[in-house]
């Protein structure tokens, strides 16, 4: 496959003139995807030095920030790309609402987008907990108490997400597994489907 042919296929063959204007989408979905890729690459690098245990998290973060060459840079990139991705996704959601692009025939893709937003929020929180210092430990504690208050299935939810009523190292391992495996894999598959649906539903939502 030639590179220039790939570029030609990146955009749909036919698209109405007012929809390709930058002010039609502000490229917010693309920006969020770019940040997702950034998070993936920096996350793969960070995973080399991080161990999901109390001692491992402390030493890993210390070494990443102060000892390993450019560790501070990779960690900062990962953090800021994560924060920025949530902001960009929220703006994307607002843009879609303003363009009424949640109406049929795009209602399915709207739901996929909402799911992506929720999972990204979970990824942001679980990444914060991975620092495993006194601040994030208590944040996890608060979340654990909140879960417990959920009617009917709160206790079970707490059991499933944290592995028990107390936040322990096995809870940290669950956060780690979600942050590094379940969340990103789920996100990536939904993103692929999301992109495909943009094409299949045809055109983009009409701006107001």
């Amino acid at each position: 496959m030639r590179f220039d042919k790939f570029l030609e296929h990146l955009h749909p063959a036919k698209i109405s003139e007012d929809r390709i204007r930058i002010s039609s989408t502000f490229c917010l979905g693309g920006a969020a995807f770019f940040l997702f890729i950034t998070l993936g690459v920096t996350g793969l690098l960070l995973a080399i030095y991080y161990l999901p245990s109390a001692e491992g998290a402390k030493m890993g973060l210390h070494d990443l920030t102060y000892v390993i060459p450019f560790g501070w840079l990779i960690r900062s990139l990962h953090f800021w790309a994560g924060q920025l991705m949530l902001v960009v996704m929220l703006l994307h959601t607002m843009r879609v609402v303003a363009a009424r692009a949640y109406l049929p025939p795009r209602q399915g893709n709207w739901l996929i987008g909402v799911a992506l937003l929720l999972i990204s929020g979970g990824l942001d929180f679980s990444g914060y907990v991975l620092r495993w210092d006194s601040q994030t430990f208590w944040a996890a504690q608060v979340m654990s108490q909140l879960l417990d208050r959920v009617p009917l299935c709160g206790h079970e939810l707490q059991q499933i997400l944290l592995g028990g009523p107390q936040i322990t190292e096995s809870g940290l391992l669950r956060f780690y597994a979600f942050h590094c495996l379940w969340g990103p894999m789920l996100c990536l598959s939904l993103i692929m489907y999301h992109f495909w649906r943009v094409r299949r539903d045809g055109n983009l939502g009409k701006p107001l």
């Binding site: 590179f3 220039d4 570029l7 955009h11 390709i20 204007r21 930058i22 690098l45 080399i48 030095y49 402390k58 030493m59 973060l61 210390h62 070494d63 000892v67 390993i68 060459p69 450019f70 560790g71 840079l73 990779i74 210092d133 006194s134």
Partner: protein, 177 residues
């Protein structure tokens, strides 16, 4: 390019004009014409940035050698340390009073910075967020919320005093050679 109305058109034009092989580009006069020159400089800059990125990633991945694994700290003959003296090797701080020796693993339980020993006040103060610990590593003031551990002390075969940061000594423990 005067009538380009929007950015995506501009981008696709740029792609068509510059990213395709140069012999296909009917707008450029020669390799060292204005466009050709800018194009070469652009690619050189991109190459430089990419190379720098690869270099930084390589340094990052090779970082395990620089890892601060706590090695045993050899403080030499015990007699070299008078009562009240403080000695520091890596992250281990050796102290001595009338009752004997002890070694503190000076790693703040808050975020892992290295608290420094203030000889006037006889306390450890963390440079990062100001946590304080007494001379035996006991917690005095936050944001940390637990004590610093003590390293086990032993004499090696040459009679030198060696602290082992990976082996924790019980709190309040004294070593008398």
């Amino acid at each position: 390019m005067g009538n380009v109305k929007d950015l995506s058109k501009l981008v696709s034009q740029l792609l068509a004009n510059y990213m395709l092989p140069i012999e296909k580009n009917k707008h450029s006069e020669s390799r060292w014409g204005r466009r050709g020159f800018l194009l070469s400089m652009g690619w050189a800059l991109a190459g430089l940035a990419f190379g720098g990125m690869i270099w930084m990633t390589g340094r990052f991945l090779g970082g395990a050698r620089a890892r601060s694994d706590p090695e045993p700290a050899n403080f030499g003959p015990p007699d070299a340390h008078r009562i009240g003296a403080v000695a520091k090797l890596g992250r281990v701080v050796l102290l001595r009073d009338e009752t004997g020796f002890w070694a503190v693993n000076a790693v703040c339980p808050h975020l892992g910075c290295q608290p420094a020993f203030d000889e006037n006040r006889r306390i450890f103060v963390c440079p990062c967020h100001g946590s304080q610990f007494d001379s035996e590593g006991r917690f005095l003031a936050g944001p940390a919320n637990s004590r610093m551990s003590l390293a086990a002390l032993r004499l090696d075969t040459q009679g030198a005093l060696v602290a082992y940061p990976k082996e924790e000594a019980p709190a309040g423990d004294r070593f008398n050679p």
